[in-house]
């Protein structure tokens, strides 16, 4: 089962690389295609000759170019779920106890949210999410993936699993908000990429993702406090991981408050989102890898 988990992981990484490449290829290819089409019609070509190309423009350029990244992103999610399930069977516990497992689970959460937002007509956010999933999987590939025995403090069942699962899901949603913020900066007010929606749409996607992620982040922190109360004898001890999750929570709280103000939507609130996601990454990787604390066992 461990071998299956690792094989599925590598498969997901390969699919993710292809998905990221094809998603961007469509964006880059489409303006070229439009230019070629206009040159063809301007050069005396007939409308009948151009008709198939125009049909392609409506449905996607070319049709498979739109569908392929989406198919691949579904394949990524499926492979990651298989990897995590096989890992759970191999270890006998939920695969949420080490940094490799967290990172793979986070990649799966991001891939799942990609599908959610695709259904919410925010598919363009894929352009930033596909490379982020790929980046997470590359990071996971560099982390030790061997199965280690569970530390005694982590053998406490459901609350700990719920805490980590909710945190990973929250971080997945917040990754979508970060991706939307990046695309907002890319689009800016001048709408650099004609195929993509305008900046306002990315502002909405970013806000929508925080609307999902923020309550989950709150629930995750509360569950962590409840678990810490049993395992460590106190619900809060200013451990670096706890503190960094508070910093993240405050950052997104500030985002909500600022976003409601006139003049704070768009680039300014996207800036806050990028900063807040920096805290997510710091909580996720920085604290586990570089700061010692009670969560240090999560570093391996």
């Amino acid at each position: 089962m461990e071998a299956l988990s690792i094989a599925a992981f590598w498969l997901s990484l390969g699919c993710s690389a292809l998905a990221a490449l094809t998603a961007w290829a469509v964006v880059i290819y489409r303006p070229l295609h439009v230019r070629r089409l206009s040159l063809a019609t301007a050069g005396g070509g007939s409308w009948d000759e151009a008709r198939p190309a125009v049909a392609n423009l409506r449905t996607g350029v070319p049709g498979i170019g739109i569908r392929l990244p989406r198919l691949l992103s579904r394949a990524v999610l499926a492979a990651l779920l298989v990897s995590l399930a096989a890992r759970a069977v191999a270890t006998g516990y939920a695969p949420l106890t080490g940094l490799w497992e967290f990172t793979v689970a986070l990649a799966a959460a991001v891939a799942a949210f990609q599908l959610v937002f695709e259904r919410k007509r925010a598919a363009a956010v894929d352009l930033a999410l596909q490379p982020m999933v790929l980046l997470l999987l590359v990071v996971a590939a560099a982390l030790p993936s061997r199965i280690e025995p569970l530390a005694p403090a982590l053998r406490s069942g459901n609350i700990l699993v719920a805490h980590v699962a909710v945190m990973v899901t929250a971080y997945g949603a917040l990754t979508v908000s970060f991706a939307a913020a990046l695309l907002l900066f890319l689009q800016s007010s001048s709408r650099r990429l004609a195929r993509l929606p305008d900046a306002r749409a990315f502002d909405d996607v970013g806000y929508g993702a925080v609307v999902i992620g923020f309550p989950l982040l709150t629930l995750g922190i509360a569950l962590g406090a409840y678990w810490a109360s049993s395992a460590w004898g106190r619900y809060w001890g200013w451990d670096p991981k706890e503190t960094s999750s508070l910093v993240t929570w405050l950052a997104y709280g500030v985002y909500f408050h600022l976003h409601s103000l006139r003049g704070w939507s768009g680039r300014r609130s996207a800036g806050v989102l990028v900063l807040a996601y920096g805290f997510v990454l710091f909580s996720y990787f920085g604290v586990n890898l570089w700061v010692s604390g009670l969560h240090s066992y999560a570093g391996g």
Binding site: E148, P149, L150, A151, P152, A153, L154, R155, S156, L160, D204, Y207, G208, V211, F214, P215, T218, L219, A222, A225, Y226, W227, S229, S230, A231, G233, R234, Y235, W236, W238, P240, T243, S244, L246, V247, L250, A251, G253, V254, H257, L258, S260, L261, F279, V287, V291
Partner: protein
Amino acid sequence: MATMQTALHTPALVRIRFVAAEGVRVLANVRLAAAVGAGLALLSLAGILVPQLPEAASANSGATADWLDGQRRSIGPVADWLYRLGFYDIFHSAWFVAGLAILALSIAACTARRLAPTWRNVAHPVKAVPAAFLDASRPGVVCGAAVAPAALEQALRRRRFRVEAWKADGSVWFFADRYPWAQLATFVSHAALVLLMVGALLTHFGGFTSRLFIAEGADQPVFPIDHRPGMNIQLASATARFDPAGRPLDYRSQLAITENGSEVKTCTVTASQPCYYGGYRIRQAFYYPFGADLQVRDLRDGRIAYRDSLALTDSRLAPRLIVSDTTGGVVLDRTLALSGSVLGFDGALLSVPGLSGPLWVGLATGRGDTPELALFESGATPGGLRLSMPLHTAAMAGGLRFEFADLETSPTANADALPAARTDGTPAVPVLQLTGANVSQTSDGGPVTLWLSGIGASAPVSLREGESASVGDFEYTFVRLKPFVGIEVKKDRGEALIWVGSALLVIGLCLTLWVPRRRLWARLGSDGLRITGQAPRLANLRRELESLAGESELAGLSSPKNGSQLGHN
């Protein structure tokens, strides 16, 4: 009455009311709340990046000074500035406490300003709107087709709207509200934040914590002796499981709780599963395997002069020496307790088979901080055995091969109360040292050995579990290795508030952000249906209104001649 009115309008009172109103206005400002949140986030970040004074050191000025010296060595005089500014204890600093206080006041002010209008909006909404409002509002949907009032009402009710309809000016007017109470949820989440702060204050100032360090089989009082009631905790057994590589798998302690002499509860605690009794949470804070159950018998009268379990909580380096002869046969393999000191080096006398006299073995630090083992024959004449070996090396001398095989950190403890022979009239300081033991009991340094020094013998006395040795008038028995467990007994008066606050915070946020509240106004007249509404930012209200109008139209379509004529403002 006139006097009272005059008093209420004196300039001083007017000024106070003005200042109070201004204060509330400033505190309720969203920008201020965001700024305070950002400030608290930055201070918290500093709390991660700047080393924080350990809790144990903060209660002791000497320990604080030592810790601060360490910081000075790292970053120089900046350490003093950071200390003065409170950055080494940021979460108890004036900055952080002030930030939390302003945040609490800001929440209170914001609630005070917004609660009444929000409540009015929920309980007494504006139901009848002017026709101009409906005509001008965006998003607004116009449906020119015939829509029956009943069909629109049913469509709204299917969408869980509370609907009111009335006739006026030849039209049927509708007011529909869905989940209006969700607007109040923001107050729940904000109140929850204040509740969490109060809970934290109660934890800080009203909590009780007792930390016990109990040997297996022993018991300890939870409260000071003069405290009522007398609650004791007995550690019936303590077990630890390790995997073959020595990594811990499980720690488990069986406890018996007695109150005023009667057993009131028995329970098992693990590393993550506490036990509860009488509002107290009893948990296993740590497991300490290096305890020795020791017995001393006075040989003069045969009585047991001493019996106790001692935790060996200090540590000392213990080298492992392997001596072999020319054929390769091992003549000695021992981890040594270095109990004496010569020329500033820790050392011990050692008898080696094949050598005429004892060897003095000392541990020194060589070049590059490499540990070196020095050996020389005690009282040796020139030409006697003299060796110096870095760790993991070997050397030949006197026809024997000496190997400095390993260096372990071995647990030690002073045992002042241990009866000991006074050989030279000076008080002995008995010291216990364990070698060959590690947490997981997987050491390859030989079996666990307890070394006793300072009891009157010329060299440390080594005992295995169950062995006895006589020195002077006493017989010392190492009964067995005995684990100790750190037990924490805690009552946290703020914890209940923390859980209530956490639950309210999560519920408040979910209701505020996830409940699809809507408020609609519609007019159904001879010119068709005109409908508009209010919704949170992310809702696609136009699409919802179109869907609603389309459904009402289909349901109420009485005449096929009225085709769909949806439009919008």
